[in-house]
Each structure stands twice: as C-alpha cells, then as structure tokens.
Amino acid sequence: MSAIKAGQPGILAGLLAITRRDLLLAWKRPGDVLNPLFFFAMVCTLFPLAVGPSAEQLTFSGPGVLWVAALLSTLLSLNSLFMSDHEDGSLDQLLVSPQPLPVLALGKTLAHWLISGFPLVLISPLLAITYRMPSDIMGVLMLTLLLGTISLSLLGSIGAALTVGLHRGTALLSLLILPLAMPVLLLGANTVSLAAGNDIYSTGIWALGAYAVGSISLAPYATAAALRISNE
C-alpha cells in the first residue's frame, strides 16, 4: 500500500504554504510585526535612562541589555503564535491535515521568526550604536542574535503550544520559557562581550549554532505533541 497517494502535496509544499499563509496574515496586520520591534527598542531605551548615560557603562553592559531585550520581545510576540489559529478553528484543521504536524509547526515558527526575530536582528546594530559598542563587533552581535532568536522562537513555540487555550496563558508562558531560554541568553550575551573585549569568542558561536540546529530538529516534535495535547 502506497503511503501517500499520488498527487498528495509533499512536505516542502506544506511547509512553504503555511509559512506563506502566516506571512500574508502578518502583512495584513502590520501592527503585530511592529509591536515586538518597538518593545525591543523601548527596553533598550529604558536601560540608559535608569543607569545614566555614562559611555563606559553602556559599552560594558550593551550586549547584555540588547540580549535581554531580544529575549523579552520574542517572548512577548510568542503568545499569539497559535492563539488566532486556536480561536477560529484553523488549528483543528491543521491537526487533521495530511501534512505531518511537526512540519506545520516548524513552518509556523519559521514565519513567526521571519516577522519578529529577523527584523530585530536587522535593527540591532542601530541600537548597538547608541550603546557605543565598537562597530567591528556588529557582525558578531547580529550573528549571535540570528542564531539565538531562531532557538528562542522554536523553544517558545513549545511553550506557546502548551499554553494555547489557557486563560492565564501569557504569564504562564513566560514562566515556562524563561528558564529554558537562559542558556541561549547566557551564550549569546557573553559571546558578544567576549568579542567586544577582543577575546576568543568562537566557542560561543559554535554552541549557539549547535543549539539552533538542535532546536530546529527537535523542538517541532515537542510543539506538535503539545498542540495535540492542548487541543484535545
């Protein structure tokens, strides 16, 4: 017996379709894309206001602040990852689709990263300049944020799937995801600090890369399992 009949769209088609659909939805509601970005910028603004504009201190704490802000803004946007699908019944339809659920979960997370994580990576140099971070570490900063936000989106998708449909979802999501996200924050921020101090930082990049690869290959399965459980 053939597993899937001829004419059944392949996995890649499913992945691209759901990514495209979510990007299209985001396009029609640009506020959802911009809010996390504004949030990111605002948290980065709060810090100098709180501790004072001393250049030395800002350069020193810049990587940490940018990373904490990136983590928080990713977390903020994750809450809505499965919410609208849950509300209008699309999630039910995804669960009975012939496409493997982990692939669909990966596609949704990919779209989420493209509209929340990726723009954040792009504007991070602007904020880094205000923190007087040396311009030669912008590459490292962006690379760590790129790898890190991918991991954070994927980790967060597990949490979002576990809390979808719960009343106290937002606070709970943070509680579940923050401890899981700590290694990413720790690796990312310290790698940038090392680079700023002209130390060897490649270990951190490799570790972040490994984390991202690991989460791409494992997190969608956990997310899919969690979605099936939450949607029972």
């Binding site: 597990i158 576990l162 809390t163 719960l166 009343h167 106290r168 709970l172 509680l175 579940l176 923050l178 401890p179 899981l180 700590m182 290694p183 720790l186 690796l187 310290n190 090392l194 270990t203 570790a207 984390y211 494992l218 956990a222 399992a225 969690a226 459980i229 939450s230 029972e232």
Partner: protein
C-alpha cells in the same frame, strides 16, 4: 515479574501496598539521618581548610542530589506515561514536583549559608552549581504552574510530561553553558570532590541513603493521595470509604 508490575500499577493494589510501604521507608530513613547527622556534626573532625563549616555538606549534598533525582523522576514518569499511557507514571510527576522544589530550595539556601563564611557573600553568581540549581528551581515552578492551570487531569498530565521532557534536556544544556560562563569569569571553587577521608564519607553516604528513603516515603505518600483523588469516582474508592475500617 511482569505480573508484579501490573499489579503495582493497579490503583487499589498500589493504594494498599503504599500504606504498608511508607513506614518501611520512613523508619530506616530517619534512623540513617539521625546517625548521619550526629556523626557529621560531632564525630567527624573538622576539615583543615573549611573548618567546621564543611559539616553543611551533610545536608547540602543530599538535598542537591534529590533536587535532581526528583526532576529525573518527573521526566521519566512523564515519558512512561506518554508512551505507555500509564496513569500512575503521570501521578509520579505530580507527586514529585513539590518535593523536588522543596529540596532544590534547601540546596540553594544551605549552599548560600555555606557560601557566607567561605566566600564572604550570601550569593555568588560565579558558582556554576548554584546558578544551575536556581534555574532548576524555576523549572520546578514552571512545571507546577502549568499543572495547576489545566483543570482536566489527563490533559495536565500530558502537557506537563512534555514540559518535563523538554526541561530535562535543558538541564544538561544549562549545566554546561553555566560552567562555560563561570569559567569566563573565574568562578570560585566549590566543594572539591575526592578530598574526603573515609570517616567523613561514611556519614555522608548515610545521609544520602537516609534522605533518599525519606524522600521515597514522602513520594509514596503523595502518590497515594494522587491515586485516591484521581480514582475518586471509582467503585473501589467508594467501597474503601464505606467499609467499616475506612482508611486513614
């Protein structure tokens, strides 16, 4: 053998067995802890570097050990529950979480108290084990929060099992990343391994086993409550409650 496990997994059998099992775990546990504490406090001579403060390890190490064991049990229980749909395995997670959190708290506080005379500070971020332990405490909080926010027991079981499994992978990553991080900042040395004399080690083993037994007794007791609660609509619970001897 298989039959034994099957019977163990049957709620009424477990409920009855657990009642007899608890004293068998608790009494030797208390005796071992009493011996270990006495020996650790009075019989063992002070460490030549740390002085008498090293005696704190007799409560700190067993707590830290149990804090990790409890998390492992939650993850293994969750995994078994998800794969073989064994309800008792899910109940293990529900029963172990508050105990694990309590021992994690103990490990943190005793570690911090030990650090005060040794490091001159109540909290040392540079110590990788303390930081990992703190993250572990947060993982317990997340697990318990998720459990308590889902009303349907079956759903809460499965969701928290997924979280525990994701968390257990993460605990390993936390461990290594924190180690790397503290090596960057020249972390302080903590309890060194392998420098203990035999007469220092024996009370520690007694404490470890004693703590494990007490933990086992509390776990079985909580598990018994979980089983009773989950089976509250069944006939055997009705018969148990209505029977003249009742239950404790």
């Amino acid at each position: 053998m298989w039959k034994f496990f099957h019977q163990l997994a049957s709620p009424p059998h477990f409920y009855r067995l657990a009642a007899t099992l608890i004293p068998w775990l608790a009494v030797p546990g208390v005796l071992l802890i009493a011996y270990g504490a006495y020996a650790g406090l009075f019989l063992v001579s002070a460490d030549y570097q740390q002085g008498d403060a090293f005696r704190i390890i007799y409560v700190h190490v067993p707590s830290a050990y149990l804090s990790m064991m409890a998390y492992m049990m939650m993850a293994v229980g969750g995994g078994i529950g998800l794969i073989w749909r064994m309800k008792l395995a899910h109940a293990v997670g529900a029963a172990a979480a508050p105990l694990g959190a309590a021992f994690t708290f103990l490990a943190l506080v005793t570690g911090s108290i030990w650090g005060r005379p040794m490091w001159g500070t109540w909290w040392e971020w540079g110590d990788p084990r303390m930081t990992s332990e703190l993250i572990l405490l947060f993982l317990y909080f997340g697990y318990m929060a998720l459990r308590s926010s889902i009303d349907d027991t079956a759903k809460a079981d499965k969701a928290s099992a997924v979280l525990a499994l994701v968390g257990v992978v993460n605990v390993v990553i936390v461990h290594f990343s924190v180690e790397w991080w503290s090596s960057l900042h020249q972390g302080q040395t903590v309890f060194k391994k392998g420098t203990m004399d035999a007469d220092m080690r024996i009370p520690l083993f007694a404490m470890l086993i004693g703590f494990s037994l007490i933990f086992g007794a509390m776990l079985v007791s909580r598990l018994r409550t979980e089983v009773l609660f989950r089976e509250r609509r069944t006939r055997w619970v009705r018969e148990l409650v209505l029977s003249p001897e009742g239950g404790k």
